[in-house]
Point group: C2
Chain length 469, copies 2
């Protein structure tokens, strides 16, 4: 298939939007750099260093996952993803984009799929309670996703529901209620899988959590929803074909996107990157994007080890909803934002506003317009208003929100963030800044080896507090 995604950057340009936009000659002057970055990334790919770029082509692995999902669909009614961050945000994005989302729990099972829920993205006892009050454990399979098996949130939830499932169906039968996604060889979860004999699927060790949506992490849940995985992969592959074959900014949309984001941040101080899809189904996609951006780009050090404290702040907005919440700020506040819309030309369903009060000017003009038309007019009108106010904005368009289009969107942003990290000269693939918090947690929860750390923390927490009101 051919890529169907387009990126319109008209309103990013100074020629259209004025001083806060990027001038044509600035784009030209960065051309060489863009070509170098493209070459560097393609060389890295050729050397096998970019595991995630392989995924669009792993059709056989996807077939195996579909097969496993079919077995599960036969035996269970409810598939529950237990994961956090990179272990569930991709699957959540797929669920919201390609199924009726929260409404799916009230609807009959989809063809070839079952009900899919998410838990373990938190350790909130009330959420856990409410979830369990609606789950029939005898008909539920839990998909626990943790590469290491050391992640506090999903592992706490796993240990708890494991006990409940054992109580419900017995020690022996409980095993078939769990499928684990984890490392091939090492880690706590691998040990648990081997010891208990749980079914398991592999998370490739060269693909980090935030780039893992097209591994088993995102694909097994997608298959459990009844989604044809080959279509998701075909979309990602179509985008990849476009990206890898062109180092020309005007042909490679991810490279153009990264270049404009970089220039807008570093030359204009536009360091808040807002993604604003005009489609309720892309709401969770925004949260997937938020992790990808924040963890890949928010870095203390550059590749030379120099302290740089880099990183634009990603914001997930939603059209038309946020017109009545954030647009006042976007139109009138500081010139520190880039807004990217995602526009869906044709929605899966549509309806027309009927005529009701032809004499009331406040509503009569709505009659005869379809909702598909209205939401797209809202997007166009918002882009127009921002442009008139000199606010940079761009629009990614897909013809329809199909599995192929979603695959393209995932892959587009993954490659864009990799390019962007090259511009910033930072490592897109590590996350050293989460360690300090993890160690404090281990200490406070009494994990072995953190006793000294704990003492220091407790002293600090027990200090008399004068700054409280």
């Amino acid at each position: 298939m051919k890529s169907v995604l387009s990126y319109d950057y008209t309103n990013m340009m100074a020629e259209v939007i004025g001083e806060h936009g990027i001038a044509g000659n600035e784009l030209t002057s960065v051309n060489t750099r863009a070509r170098e970055i493209h070459a560097k990334i393609e060389a890295a790919r050729a050397s096998g260093a970019l595991g995630f770029t392989r995924l669009p082509y792993e059709v056989d692995a996807a077939k195996e996952l579909s097969g496993l999902a079919s077995e599960l669909v036969e035996n269970f009614d409810h598939f529950v993803v237990v994961g956090i961050g990179g272990s569930d945000l991709g699957a959540r994005a797929i669920h919201t984009a390609l199924t009726p989302g929260i409404y799916s729990h009230l609807l009959p099972r989809p063809k070839g799929g079952m009900r899919v829920s998410f838990i373990g993205g938190n350790t909130d006892p009330r959420e856990l309670h409410d979830f369990l009050a609606t789950a029939d454990l005898t008909r539920t399979v839990f998909y626990v996703v943790s590469k290491s098996g050391d992640t506090i949130e999903p592992m706490s939830v796993f240990l708890y529901v494991r006990k409940l499932v054992i109580d419900a169906v017995g020690e022996k039968a409980h095993r078939r209620h769990f499928v684990m996604a984890t490392d091939k060889k090492k880690g706590t979860m691998r040990t648990i899988v081997d010891r208990e004999g749980y079914q398991s699927v592999i998370i490739p060790d060269d693909v980090g959590g935030r780039f893992s949506v097209l591994t088993s992490v995102g694909l097994l849940p997608a298959a459990a929803m009844g989604i044809d995985l080959s279509r998701l992969l075909a979309g990602a592959a179509a985008m990849d074909e476009r990206i890898k074959t062109s180092s020309n900014l005007r042909e490679n949309p991810a490279l153009m996107y990264a270049t404009l984001q970089y220039l807008a941040d570093t030359t204009r101080g536009q360091h808040i990157s807002i993604l604003m899809p005009y489609a309720a189904n892309l709401k969770e996609f925004g949260f997937w994007y938020r992790q990808l951006w924040a963890e890949s780009l928010g870095k203390r050090l550059n590749s030379q080890g120099t302290v740089v404290h880099r990183g634009p702040t990603p914001v997930a907005a939603l059209g038309a909803t946020d017109q009545h919440s954030q647009i006042q700020l976007y139109n009138e506040g500081p010139y520190d934002k880039i807004i990217t819309f995602i526009r869906v030309e044709k929605f899966e369903h549509d309806a027309v506003v009927p005529s009701a009060y032809p004499d009331l000017e406040g509503v009569s003009y709505l009659a005869g317009h379809s909702f598909n038309e209205i939401i797209n007019i809202e997007q166009a009108a918002t882009a127009l208003a921002l442009t008139q106010n000199g606010r940079v904005n761009g629009t990614i368009t897909v013809p329809a929100l199909t599995p192929e289009a979603l695959g393209e969107l995932f892959y587009f942003f993954e490659m864009a963030v990799v390019y962007l990290a090259e511009y910033y000269d930072i490592n897109a693939f590590d996350q050293p800044g989460v360690e300090a918090g993890k160690e404090a947690m281990y200490a406070l929860l009494g994990r072995r080896g953190f006793e000294e750390h704990r003492k220091r923390i407790e002293e600090r927490l027990n200090q008399k507090n004068e700054y409280i009101v």
Copy 2:
């Protein structure tokens, strides 16, 4: 009742956190200004100018709304809020905080309440379709919230579902399936109500959308959920008593909060305001906060008419979830953020992690800890790590997520934003920056009087586009 909310600003202070914090003498030097602002706001309140400050005490109006809700609960199974922005974000926050949220649709009716849903915060045809596929219109009452009756999104949805309800139950009977919240005297919706004879409740004309959660806008849905409105109001009143009686920063938490936010933005460039509750139930509260902050503070002009382009960017984060998504950026990225946690000491339900693999160091230490304990340790550990990294952060604590505590939280942020607008010398209550977009929408949808505007827009949209990839 007495206020139970506390605000701990220890980690906002330079004495604790270093150069990126606010020094004690900076706080002292702003003391006079803080007192002036407090006096100005109290004078405005006394003159009747701040409508929303009256709401905590309108106990009789709340009783009437509870009475209306009781009648509806007797006659219907499903209460659907049709609103957008200030017309639904408050009710959504209440629904998520005080009911099982999305799970409530799968659970038996709450005592004295019914199922509550939200639609019309968008004009997404697929979301509308999925919602309707799960709704029994003969048992559903729609609560259409629009002060003017001119708001495109809820009015489109209203016109559409009105037709469906007429088709389902007939022209005459359809009327009892709608309750409208609108202006007392004027506007398109008032005309429709008078003509059709729909039931209606009043949105006070001196309370703007983002300050309206304690009017009929938020309270009728809350009552339909089975929530005791007097408890919500009592919490807001308890916070108001604390606020109005003290101009002392160290006694008035909203004034301290506003002061620190202002100083952090204007003296340290910390202009991204992150609200990060450690409670899944406060997720939607974050979206309510986001509108309050963005629309109240994002302004082009100050009170003198000078162009200032003000406004911190509010971000809704969620703990522990976002530890695996945003914390890398917060710990290592630019020093441009203020993080405020909301901590709930005691959750409504709890569970303990059972012992399962005592020999596996990666999980054994979790055994015996309750989820309530774990989520609060995660909050403390995250605050500690941010503090070690010199990142300003503060913590709002409530003992439990009761209706009273939620009432306090709403009112705390409303007053804080009013104080903050005074510091910035801008008008907290207008939103001129949404007009341009609205006019473009009217033009593109063919509303009378916008014909010229439409021609200009269409010329622009039809220009050949060279900036597309």
